[in-house]
């Protein structure tokens, strides 16, 4: 079920009404409803894969309780590895089987060997990369004794399958989300209204920004050989905004919907395109995944201990794995590696934590230096996104080659003025609201209700009037 569909517009109010009607009873009833609604939400796409979620839930619940019952290190390690093998096994099979098989055959034939095998027609279950990482975080935290395992199977099932963030995150930590299922939720007016504001802005990002940009990004990327350098730049910029609008829009809707049900999810995006260096960008982009890799991969690998060489090795490891997490294609791996290369000078010069606050904090305009830094960082991310969007490495390299020609200085042949105007409006609102949790969080709050509501009505009107051709959320495929 897509957030920007009529189905969801019907589903959400029904679940919301039932949920708060159950408020007077034990919290368990609300949790049962959440599990049922989440399975329905997921099953609407393909009910066959519900068994995967259920299996993953049972395994991790059992492993968690097994870990509580034993202090034997070997047994504990075996339990942990059971969870890792099951979760990553599913992920590996559904997402990476064909990739490894194809590359194995290619490598084998390169050395003169013959190996014949057929790729399987595997459907990738939506959201598998998200919920497997979420359940893994539970087992690892229990193993590390950072979290008490739960005895409440319903709460645990609700934590694994919670519909707002089930298919595209934020990838929640058990330490943050699971305890919220134990306590009775109280309806909080300001939290719910703020949730609605975030849903509205998320829809705007997805329907107006991402879907409109997608049309032009697809047009340009799909026929990149025929376009001038300047048009190719524009295509890459459109994709840069498409992926941001698409993914952060989804996260905004997910967080907003959760707030309607009394839950607080972690922040997933914090105005990443206003970053002044790549390290800051990665603190602001897909935060739930970056911190997941930091806590469960970078730190166990040694993190920043063990000298510069170890730091560099670990940094490359998490960027490359992060790229590979996005999909079974060399383009994602190169995208990850390229970001690691961008990160390297900051790491070597110990400047990777120099921009911790948002640009232009406390003021309306940024300093000139900040503007140049933001533009530079934005430019680097645009180049990296070309690898992310391209069909193959060859396509990415020819795309970049196509940019650096004399046609770079000609007017782009595709110049959709309306989309550019919408992007300008979007950037202004994001900039003005950048000190809040999301752009509309604090915006106009001090103004009277009539002005505020008029502004929201304008946003709704823009969603209706300027919606692009409906596209599926990009991150569903991951």
């Amino acid at each position: 079920m897509l957030f920007n569909s009529l189905d969801f517009a019907i589903f959400l109010p029904i679940v919301f009404a039932l949920y708060w009607l159950l408020d007077r009873f034990n919290v368990r009833y609300q949790n049962v409803l959440i599990v049922a609604a989440s399975y329905f939400f997921y099953g609407w796409w393909d009910w066959r894969f519900l068994s995967l979620i259920l299996f993953s839930t049972i395994v991790d619940y059992t492993v968690g309780n097994g870990l509580k019952n034993t202090e034997d290190n070997l047994k504990r390690k075996m339990l942990l590895w059971t969870s890792i093998v099951v979760n990553l096994g599913f992920l590996g099979f559904f997402k990476y089987y064909n990739f490894f098989l194809d590359n194995f055959i290619e490598a084998f034939s390169f050395f003169g060997g013959e190996f014949s095998s057929q790729s399987l027609k595997i459907i990738l279950p939506v959201g598998i990369s998200f919920y497997t990482f979420q359940t893994l975080s539970y087992t690892i935290d229990v193993y590390k004794k950072n979290l008490e395992p739960t005895k409440d199977f319903i709460s645990f099932s609700a934590f694994v399958s919670f519909f707002p963030q089930l298919v595209a995150g934020p990838i929640e930590r058990a330490t943050n989300l699971l305890p919220q299922f134990y306590d009775k939720r109280k309806f909080d007016y300001s939290k719910a209204v703020d949730g609605l504001r975030q849903i509205l802005w998320g829809l705007f990002k997805k329907v107006v920004i991402a879907d409109n940009c997608a049309e032009y990004a697809n047009m340009i990327f799909n026929n990149s050989a025929e376009h001038s350098g300047s048009t190719l730049v524009l295509g890459a910029v459109f994709f840069t905004f498409q992926i941001y609008g698409d993914f952060s829009g989804y996260s905004d809707i997910a967080i907003g919907v959760s707030r309607l049900f009394g839950f607080d999810l972690m922040k997933n995006f914090a105005f990443p395109y206003f970053s002044r260096d790549i390290a800051e960008f990665w603190r602001r982009w897909h935060i739930s995944l970056s911190t997941w890799f930091r806590d469960y991969l970078y730190i166990p690998l040694g993190g920043s201990r063990g000298g510069k060489w170890m730091q560099v090795r670990n940094t490359f490891a998490i960027f490359i794995v992060s790229g590979f997490w996005h999909g079974a294609n060399w383009t994602f791996i190169v995208w990850g590696a390229l970001n690691a290369i961008y990160f390297l000078p900051l790491l070597l010069l110990n400047k990777n934590r120099s921009n911790l606050d948002i640009a232009g904090k406390g003021g309306l305009f940024p300093k000139a230096r900040e503007v140049f830094e933001m533009m530079g960082t934005f430019g680097l991310t645009v180049i990296a996104w070309i690898f992310f969007r391209a069909d193959s490495l060859g396509h990415a390299f020819s795309y970049i080659q196509g940019i650096f020609t004399e046609s770079l200085f000609r007017m782009p042949t595709i110049l959709p003025k309306l989309v550019l105007a919408l992007l300008a409006f979007f950037l202004v609102i994001e900039w003005v609201g950048r000190e809040g949790e999301f752009a509309l969080n604090q915006l106009l709050l001090k103004w009277n209700r009539m002005i505020r509501w008029s502004f929201y009505l304008i946003i709704v009107a823009m969603i209706v009037l300027f919606s692009g051709k409906q596209q599926e959320f990009i991150y569903f495929q991951f």
Binding site: S5, F187, Y189, W453, L457, A461, V464, L465, S467
Partner: protein
């Protein structure tokens, strides 16, 4: 919670009011600014779907304008016809494509499936009677509601541009390539299967009802009408329901003038695919129809249904 529900309620009411007012104003603006004017010298028109769109080159037929458009069901033809006739007083003859796939029940999708709503409905929605709209709402409420933004945007665009719809949408389309090329193509490639109607034996009562409405409307306006079947190649799969087609024709439209060009002598080089003529075929057929239009006695004859062979024998085109 009560305050929240109250606020949501007020916001939604305001939103609904805003959208209603916006839709209403846009609709009125469309009705005032959008036109259905055709060339003043045209006294006859052709309406229908892609078969007639590709068969009649109106540049070769004096006094005729081809207003056919791919994927148009009689539901939309009816609205379009009413508007064209009321805007162009000199129209005195109307050809309506009537072919095998147009009676098949599967063509009902052309009325209410999302793909058609976002195009045909969006173009004419400001002019469609609310009783007709109910038909869509009844059969595809989800699609109807989901398409409202598209419809609204389309209306707004037409209103702002002051579009003349017949000159923007539809009209003769010259196709290139022939049936030899078509047969060489991999059937999995190229053609969008959804664009072809899968013929089934069940009859579309909705199509026939709207055709009845078209006929009644033209009778009321005292405008001559003629059903026409564009040439089809013998390999056209739609001919599978030929018996049903003939039954419908003789039982329901016995008094309506009908010209059957199915057996027009054309070869594979004249078709782009089994159901559409290419430009070479269209030019031959258009020249022939132009000659027929000059034969006044044809339109006064008692006999209503004519095959190509009978016309050749009687009017020696």
């Amino acid at each position: 919670m009560n305050k929240f529900l109250k606020d949501i309620g007020i916001f939604l009411v305001l939103l609904a009011l805003l959208l209603f007012v916006a839709m209403f104003i846009t609709k009125l603006t469309v009705q005032n600014r959008v036109s259905y004017n055709i060339d003043q010298s045209a006294s006859s028109i052709v309406l229908g779907h892609s078969h007639s769109e590709c068969a009649f080159n109106d540049e070769r037929i004096p006094g005729l304008e081809n207003l056919s458009i791919s994927g148009e069901a009689y539901f939309y033809t009816y609205t379009k016809l009413k508007e064209v006739v009321s805007s162009n007083e000199n129209v005195d003859l109307v050809f309506i494509e009537f072919t095998n796939n147009q009676i098949s029940e599967s063509i009902n999708d052309w009325v209410w499936k999302e793909k058609y709503l976002s195009y045909h409905y969006a173009i004419h929605s400001a002019f469609i009677d609310w009783r007709d709209k109910l038909l869509i709402l009844k059969n595809n409420p989800r699609g109807y509601i989901a398409n409202l933004p598209v419809v609204f945007k389309s209306m707004l665009k037409s209103a702002l541009k002051g579009e003349n719809l017949p000159s923007v949408y539809g009209g003769y389309t010259a196709l290139e390539g022939d049936l030899f090329d078509y047969e060489k193509k991999d059937p999995k490639e190229g053609e969008n299967k959804e664009d072809f109607v899968i013929i089934n034996e069940k009859i579309s009562e909705i199509q026939l009802n709207y055709l009845d409405k078209i006929i009644s409307f033209l009778e009321e306006k005292n405008i001559q009408m003629c059903l026409i079947r564009s040439p089809e190649h013998e390999s056209y799969s739609g001919l599978a329901n030929e018996d049903t087609y003939q039954d419908v024709l003789t039982n329901r439209f016995v008094d309506v003038r009908f010209v059957d060009l199915k057996d027009f002598p054309l070869g594979k080089t004249h078709f782009r695919d089994p159901e559409h003529l290419n430009s070479t075929g269209a030019n031959i057929v258009s020249d022939w129809l132009g000659n027929l239009l000059d034969q006044d006695q044809f339109f006064n004859s008692e006999k209503k249904h004519w095959t190509f062979k009978e016309l050749e024998e009687n009017y020696n085109n």
